[in-house]
């Protein structure tokens, strides 16, 4: 692996040999004042290679985001028993391009009396924050990841928390009431759900032992298991919270089109609107990548090393990379499909219900999960089922079994806690809703009707 060079891990993964030799050969043609202070390997490692990677990544991810919109429409069409876009290109495959061109050439309206600077800045903030985190995602082993910073996960959380500002400022700068209400809703919603996400990730960190995204994948690879088995409750809380964090249905209150018309982007049109739109989908990709990395092993699938070992030495790295990238894409796709599925199935929460779900359900669940996971981990450690060697966990099959069972069983105490909270809460009381007005008895009475006079 590239980052086995030391704990101060290189921020950027090293470039392949052919690139270094290419740069070295290029150096001969460059003026001396430019080359004197730079080593060809460094230039290759820190300038040329990252730029290539970023370029490729941007093209691939932007295409993925564009086709995610198509996928959303196709999947929703499938769910709703209709066809979906099929006029632009074969199977509607050119639809994203058509949409993009349409939005690009539309008139860009800035409302009179809007705060023009902030109005312009808001989509940029959204877009930048959505795209900057793409740099630290572990797309695959070896050359397939751009950087691997040691606070990768924290970095993603921080930057996406800044991304909220785009929505808030966009809503505020429009100087209109619906966007303002949307911005208010979304700021409260995102701050609440970020807390839940942060807490649920903490319980995952007990097993990952690192913030580094590649490190998290490596931790799962070294154990040969996905952390979703150890951290099932955490995974559930994570999945629910990120849907809210990305403003998707059933939590799309910030842009609830039946209440707030378009929410925070009501006044946006044309290209500025499309930037918000792209940012939303890029955020979806990012959170699904986090989910895949933390809980589903990232690019790792059990058995990939075994397959790679059977291949000839020369192809081993390339095969591993290919398998890893494919696996990562499939996992992200699965989570994205879940998001789309949820969106087209559920009605929308109300604002207060959403806040109560966040604070009274997900937050206690995440906190309880931290305590439980830590306890389980210490018990496992005392039983000698897990060893920490140089920051990485090692365990045998007994340990894996123990943590899997414990992870699944920890659902029950958490559910018991939620039940207790639920019972004592007046305003958000599932039990009350089910018992005082039980659904089974909530059938209409059938009356033969009054006899005619």
């Amino acid at each position: 692996m590239m980052m086995t060079q030391g704990p101060w891990m290189l921020a950027l993964s090293a470039s392949p040999k052919w690139l270094e030799s290419l740069v070295e050969r290029l150096f001969a043609y460059l003026p001396a004042w430019l080359t004197s202070s730079l080593a060809p390997t460094e230039v290759a490692d820190f300038i040329v290679w990252p730029l290539i990677q970023i370029g490729v990544m941007l093209v691939v991810v932007l295409t993925a985001v564009a086709y995610l919109t198509l996928a959303e429409r196709k999947v929703s069409a499938w769910i709703q028993v209709r066809v979906g876009p099929n006029r632009t290109g074969p199977l509607g495959l050119l639809q994203p391009a058509a949409d993009g061109i349409k939005l690009l050439i539309k008139e860009d309206v800035i409302p009179f009396k809007a705060d023009k600077t902030v109005f312009t800045l808001a989509p940029i903030i959204s877009m930048v924050c959505a795209f900057i985190v793409l740099a630290v995602l572990p797309y695959g082993p070896h050359y397939a990841s751009i950087t691997n910073i040691n606070i990768g996960l924290l970095f993603i959380l921080s930057v996406s928390s800044v991304g909220v500002l785009g929505i808030i400022l966009g809503g505020w700068a429009s100087n209109s009431k619906y966007p303002l209400l949307g911005a208010l809703r979304s700021s409260a919603q995102m701050v609440s759900y970020e807390a839940a996400i942060g807490l649920t990730i903490v319980s995952a960190l007990i097993f990952t032992r690192t913030f580094s995204m590649q490190g998290i994948v490596e931790a799962q690879r070294s154990l040969g298991i996905w952390f979703v088995l150890f951290l099932f409750p955490s995974f559930i809380v994570f999945l629910i919270s990120v849907v809210a964090e990305t403003n998707r249905a059933p939590f799309d209150l910030a842009e609830a089109e039946s209440e707030l018309v378009g929410g925070f982007h009501t006044e946006y049109s044309g290209f500025r609107f499309s930037i918000f739109f792209i940012a939303e989908y890029a955020n979806m990709v990012v959170v699904s990548a986090i989910g895949a990395t933390l809980y589903l092993g990232g690019w790792y699938v059990p058995g990939m090393d075994w397959v790679a070992a059977r291949l000839p030495e020369a192809y081993r790295e390339a095969a591993l990379t290919l398998m890893g990238v494919t696996a990562f894409a499939i996992k992200c796709g699965a989570i994205l499909y879940l998001f789309i599925w949820m969106r087209w199935t559920f009605p929308r929460y109300r604002y207060d219900q959403l806040m109560e779900l966040g604070w009274k359900w997900l937050m206690p669940a995440a906190l309880a999960n931290i305590a439980l996971t830590a306890t389980i981990f210490i018990v496992g450690k005392e039983l000698g089922l897990v060893r920490s060697a140089g920051g990485v966990l090692q365990m045998d099959w007994q340990g894996k079994l123990f943590f899997t069972l414990a992870g699944l069983l920890s659902m029950f105490p958490i559910l018991a806690l939620l039940n207790a909270i639920n019972r004592n809460s007046k305003s958000f009381n599932l039990r009350a809703q089910r018992t005082t007005i039980p659904v089974s008895t909530r059938k209409v009475k059938l009356s033969p009707g009054v006899k005619a006079a």
């Binding site: 929703s76 769910i79 709703q80 028993v81 209709r82 009431k177 619906y178 209400l181 809703r185 249905a249 059933p250 799309d252 209150l253 609830a256 089109e257 039946s258 209440e259 707030l260 018309v261 087209w344 199935t345 559920f346 009605p347 929308r348 929460y349 109300r350 604002y351 207060d352 219900q353 109560e356 007046k426 305003s427 958000f428 009381n429 599932l430 009350a432 809703q433 007005i437 659904v439 909530r442 059938k443 209409v444 009475k445 059938l446 009356s447 033969p448 009707g449 009054v450 006899k451 005619a452 006079a453």
Partner: protein
């Protein structure tokens, strides 16, 4: 969530937030047309609201006074354009009642079948938009799928999908087309399965329950005092359906039940309408079984002239009691033709239902009232 404190007036706190006046509509996705609701908000809580209607006012009642009786009928299709058949039925029945005309039995049964089909299509549109208001987009398209089947039948029968018009004073213009019976039967066979589909998506859905249970509660006394009719009244537990209390056409011969709710909230109104759809299907099936042969047009004078006097006739429209008050001076035009619009009166209850709730609930309550602005504004 059903215990949201109803703070109907502004409480004085240390951190007073300013009240905001939000104009919802007339161009708004969930005001079902050109309704404008002026909301006074404290945060997201509605402190007061006022409905601004009349954007679609066409002076229909004034026009009626200046048209011959047969010329008036098409105007009714444009009032409640969602339930054009019911509106047409209301008019022709009122004139028939005032003139004392007999309608042949076959025409009566056909009228009932078509009106009940229209009730189904209206209820499906209500379900679609109500679910869409609450965010359930898929239900919207599912309901439209079935509505499409009904509209196909309508298109074959009336030659129009929306402003259907085949009822004439004294009967019907033409008989059913040959495949009519088979097509309606096919639809009726399919429909219960589809209803179950919607109920799978909504009835036990936690979010749906959270958004509808205990929202927009109206007690039976209030509902009666507000003059609510149709599902909003029956959802509050009042057993009132014009088809039973004052049967018209052949409803007296048909067996059906009236669904009654008990809590008067949005969810009960939803349940009532869902059950009404089942009952409508039952009515259609019975009417098809008993559909007699014979002419569809009775004896009607060449010039339609309503004898002097007045008549109030009402039918159970999909949205509530549709009434028509006809004052005649014996001429060929009505002296006064007043429509009692169910949606208009039902919308009057919005303030009572929605003040104290949140913005999202206003949308849900408007959806559950099932209004149509063409009928309100006339």
């Amino acid at each position: 969530m059903n215990a949201i404190p109803l703070v109907t007036h502004h409480t004085e706190t240390l951190f007073d937030s300013e009240q905001m006046v939000l104009s919802m509509g007339p161009q708004h996705p969930s005001t079902h047309g050109v309704l404008r609701v002026i909301l006074k908000l404290d945060g997201e809580r509605v402190v007061d609201l006022d409905c601004d209607i009349g954007y679609l006012h066409r002076g229909a009642e004034k026009i009626f006074e200046n048209r011959l009786y047969p010329m008036i009928a098409p105007y009714f299709d444009r009032l409640d354009y969602i339930a054009a058949v019911s509106n047409g039925l209301l008019y022709v029945e009122t004139v028939e009642k005032a003139m004392g005309l007999e309608v042949p039995p076959r025409a009566q049964y056909l009228r009932v079948i078509l009106t009940e089909l229209n009730r189904l299509s209206s209820h499906l549109l209500w379900l679609a938009t109500h679910a869409l208001d609450i965010g359930g987009f898929t239900v919207f398209l599912y309901a439209f799928r079935e509505r499409e089947e009904i509209l196909k039948i309508f298109e074959n029968f009336f030659g129009a999908r929306l402003t259907c018009h085949a009822f004439r004073i004294g009967g019907m213009t033409y008989d059913a087309y040959p495949e009519f019976e088979a097509q309606v039967r096919a639809f009726c066979d399919l429909f219960p399965k589809r209803l179950e589909e919607y109920e799978t998506l909504l009835n036990e859905n936690r979010i749906w329950l959270g958004r509808t249970v205990g929202i927009g509660i109206i007690s039976a006394e209030d509902a009666i005092s507000l003059g609510l009719t149709g599902a909003p009244l029956r959802g509050s537990g009042v057993d009132y359906d014009v088809r039973k209390t004052d049967p018209y056409e052949c409803y007296a011969d048909l067996e059906f039940d009236i669904p009654i709710g008990e809590n008067g909230d949005t969810f009960d109104r939803y349940l009532v309408r869902m059950e009404e759809m089942r009952q409508s299907r039952r009515i259609i099936m019975q009417a098809l079984d008993r559909l007699p042969d014979g002419p569809v047009m009775g004896k009607v004078p060449k010039v339609i002239r309503v004898p002097a006097g007045e008549v109030y006739h009402s039918i159970e429209g999909p949205k509530g009691e549709l009434g028509l008050y006809l004052v005649s001076d014996g001429g060929t035009k009505p002296y006064r033709l007043r429509m009692r619009p169910a949606s208009f009166v039902n919308l009057g209850a919005l303030r009572k239902m929605a003040v104290g709730s949140l913005v999202s609930d206003v949308v849900a309550v408007i959806g559950s009232l099932d209004i149509v602005l063409g009928e309100i504004d006339r």
